[in-house]
């Protein structure tokens, strides 16, 4: 799994590969260390193959971390399979998907 983090006006995290049990741990560890000063964090999933519930858990953890700080999390460019996962779990309702 490739993770690309770009700081600027917004924090853009681009994911490539799978966001699953193993990679979500890897991503979680990476984000733990990352300073997030931008008001908006964009998770770009354009090149993400799929996301499992472990990945969803990570996203939920991230949102719970950002919300108290008044920061926003947006999910961009979901492929159909990922959209289906978001739909069936209701994550499409609690996360901002664009």
């Amino acid at each position: 799994m490739e993770i690309k983090i770009e700081h600027g006006e917004n924090l853009v995290i681009s994911l490539k590969g799978r966001l699953d049990t193993v990679t979500s741990v890897e991503l979680g560890e990476k984000l733990e260390k990352e300073e997030m000063n931008e008001k908006l964090v964009i998770m770009d999933m354009k090149e993400l193959e799929y996301i499992s519930s472990a990945g969803l858990r990570l996203l939920l953890t991230l949102k719970k971390k950002l919300s108290p700080e008044g920061k926003e999390l947006e999910i961009h460019n979901l492929n159909p399979v990922c959209q289906e996962v978001f739909r069936v779990t209701g994550f499409g309702n609690i996360l901002t998907v664009k």
């Binding site: 699953d20 193993v22 499992s52 519930s53 472990a54 492929n79 779990t89 209701g90 309702n93 609690i94």
Partner: protein, 708 residues
């Protein structure tokens, strides 16, 4: 049944018709011989008359008295004749003048009619005369004659001299006397009856039909002649009466003959015919009712054609009985043979492997249609170690011989290959074995292929068989390698083995000539072109669809035409399946499993692969996270079947149905969500079907993914 017309009735009618015709002919003939008939009638009457005359003289004495009488009268008449022979009535103008002339010649003979008294001589003579006259009158009366008169024949004059007449009673009329002594000479024109010219017995006289009968003494001396006269009307009436009588006699006789014929016919023919017809109708009835049929012997005693018929009938009936028995036996035999053929056909078809076969390595679909109950086509497939053998064959000929040869060829091929022979060796050995004792000169064409999955290669020997088609990367190619001679033909053939690349995604379509040579009503063949086109149209289809499309097009092509040859086809492709086993309780195995799956099922869509990735991640994560035992072993199987992907996840952990025990969780805006608990919901959504069961100490999760 139509009413029969008995032979007896026919004979009767025939007899009646014959008799009627005969009677008619007789009547005509009789009419034609009327003249002869007249004489017969006359003779009959004369006899009556003579009977009447002799009746009064039925003793010889009395007859003698008549003769004496006649002789006396004759002598007196001779005397008178001598006196009056020159006096002719035609010479006198009136009868009185003639009478006077006669009286003057023989005064003693012609007395005064008023006094009736003459001389003693006359009185004696007169008495005799009255006696004769009364005799003649009686005779006339009783015989119905017009007159009966007597004359005597005078040889020197060839004339008859009149003696007495029944019509002229001597007491009442005197004038007849003047006829006594008158003579008459018979003229040739008086002769009436043909053939009587010699005797002049019958003739026409004074317009009457006349018959003369001579009276002789006992010594044969001529005395006098009686003349008996009839009118023609009387004779005609007599004739008619006799005609009717004869016709009646004829008719009666005919009836009697008919009766005799009918009775005779019955006794001689019909009775016997009836025996035959009775026996025949009885036989017919029993046959039609399908009853047990037994021969009934008829006995005919008459020594004629009827006996021949009866004997023939008996013989035929016996033959029929025998024949029925033979037919019944043959029908049973045929039934038995058919039943055995059915069994043979079943054994033959049972000897073939299933038409469908799927495992993780290989997938096979086939179809066999036999034209007769047992045919010569066969297909076969089996593993030899890790390699998979496919065989498509066609035995020359059809029916039982072909079937037996086929079984032999099939078993020989299989046993040789299973013991480890190469295709070339196997073909050679089978050929040698089949050539031995092959007196019927049967042979088999065979395509023998061996798939090596690890090397992605198909090795094959084609022994004179139809070249199969290889379907690879959307293209259909005829497997145009070396075609060897057939198996079982001749000894010592050096079979050539060849090979071609055969990998996952490739398919091999084999068939027998029953497919390409199938003909329609216009005698056109199905041809390789149609096979090729059908395969090109179905490159992306499942094996079942390829076979069913080919069959459908074949059926449409052939139509109502009778199928003469077996049709067999088989399509094979390497199975796309994967087996993985992990005994490490580590999350890294999930990544490994997903990677290996993606590698093996490269041609599946990204969407399906992603879904499988998610499912594996969720379920394996659950196992690794929650299963307590440390020696956890997880086995994974991935099998492509038809339009589905089947995933089996087996572990040696506790019996825990995660599907039943998970809580439905769905995130909504504003929820204060706990982390986790969405995995099973995702799996259920992405899979077409998910089931759990605990089997033989293992938890088994079965997932079916739809590939469409």
């Amino acid at each position: 049944m139509k009413k029969r017309f008995p032979i007896l009735a026919k004979i009767g009618i025939l007899g009646a018709l014959t008799s009627i015709i005969a009677a008619a002919i007789s009547i005509v003939v009789t009419y034609n011989s009327a003249a002869k008939r007249s004489e017969e009638a006359l003779i009959s009457r004369v006899n009556n008359c003579l009977d009447s005359i002799y009746f009064q003289y039925y003793t010889s004495d009395e007859a003698n008295e008549l003769i004496v009488n006649l002789v006396t009268i004759k002598e007196k008449t001779e005397e008178v004749y001598e006196k009056v022979k020159d006096i002719h009535q035609s010479d006198y103008a009136t009868f009185s003048e003639y009478e006077a002339a006669m009286k003057s010649k023989a005064p003693w003979f012609y007395p005064d009619p008023t006094s009736m008294i003459g001389s003693q001589e006359f009185l004696a003579f007169r008495q005799q005369y009255i006696q004769l006259n009364s005799l003649l009158t009686n005779a006339q009366f009783s015989s119905g004659a017009v007159s009966v008169f007597t004359a005597y024949f005078m040889e020197e004059k060839s004339s008859y001299v009149f003696m007495a007449d029944s019509r002229y009673n001597v007491v009442q009329k005197g004038e007849f006397y003047f006829l006594v002594g008158s003579s008459y000479t018979l003229k040739s024109t008086d002769v009436l009856v043909e053939g009587d010219e010699e005797s002049y017995d019958t003739f026409s006289l004074n317009g009457y039909l006349t018959r003369k009968v001579e009276v002789l003494t006992n010594d044969g001396e001529y005395v006098a002649t009686f003349f008996i006269q009839y009118t023609y009307d009387a004779i005609r009436a007599e004739n008619q009466r006799m005609l009717i009588r004869d016709a009646l006699i004829l008719f009666g006789t005919s009836l009697a003959i008919i009766g005799i014929i009918i009775l005779g016919s019955y006794l001689m023919f019909t009775r016997n015919i009836k025996k035959v017809t009775d026996a025949a109708s009885k036989a017919k009835e029993r046959l039609s009712k399908n009853e047990e049929f037994e021969a009934v012997s008829i006995s005919i005693k008459s020594n004629d054609e009827m006996r021949t018929l009866g004997e023939s009938f008996n013989a035929l009936e016996q033959q029929l009985v025998d024949y029925i028995a033979i037919v019944k036996k043959e029908a049973m035999e045929k039934e038995r043979v058919n039943a055995e053929l059915g069994v043979a056909s079943k054994i033959q078809l049972d000897s073939l492997p299933s038409t469908s076969y799927y495992d993780e390595k290989v997938r096979v679909e086939s179809l066999i249609r036999t034209a007769k109950e047992v045919g010569g086509d066969f297909y076969d497939y089996f593993y030899v170690g890790k390699k998979f053998v496919v065989i498509m064959s066609d035995v020359s000929g059809k029916g039982i011989p072909a079937a037996l040869f086929m079984m032999k060829a099939k078993e020989l091929l299989k046993s040789n290959l299973i013991k480890g022979s190469s295709l070339k060796e196997a073909a050679t050995e089978v050929n040698e074995a089949l050539v031995v004792n092959n007196k019927e000169n049967l042979f088999v064409t065979s395509f023998i292929g061996m798939i090596d999955f690890e090397e992605g290669k198909l090795s094959y020997v084609n022994a004179g068989h139809e070249k199969p088609y290889l379907i690879s990367n959307g293209e259909v190619i005829r497997l145009d390698g070396n075609s060897n001679f057939v198996l079982g033909g001749v000894e010592g053939i050096d079979f050539v083995e060849e090979s071609v690349s055969f990998k996952k995604g490739d398919k091999l379509f084999m068939f027998t000539d029953g497919l390409n040579e199938a003909i329609n009503s216009k005698e056109e063949e199905f041809t390789y072109e149609n096979i090729q086109k059908t395969l090109e149209d179905t490159t992306g289809a499942s094996l079942k669809d390829i076979i069913s499309t080919m069959t459908k097009r074949l059926d449409e092509f052939v139509g109502e035409q009778e199928v003469f040859d077996d049709v067999t086809m088989m399509v094979v492709e390497p199975g796309v399946s994967l087996h993985l086993s992990y005994d490490k309780k580590d999350y890294s195995i999930i990544e490994d499993a997903v990677d290996k799956f993606n590698e093996s099922f490269d041609d599946l869509s990204i969407e399906v692969k992603s879904k499988v990735g998610i499912i594996l991640d969720e379920l394996m994560n659950n196992l690794i996270s929650y299963e307590k035992r440390e020696d956890l072993v997880i086995d994974l199987d991935f099998i492509l079947l038809d339009e589905t992907l089947r995933i089996l996840i087996r572990d040696n952990g506790d019996d825990y149905d995660v599907l039943a025990n998970h809580k439905e969780k769905y995130a909504n805006k504003g929820d204060d969500l706990e982390v986790g608990g969405f995995g099973i919901a995702i799996v259920k959504d992405l899979a077409k079907e998910v089931t759990y069961e605990y089997l033989a100490g293992h938890s088994v999760m079965k997932i079916i993914m739809d590939l469409k």
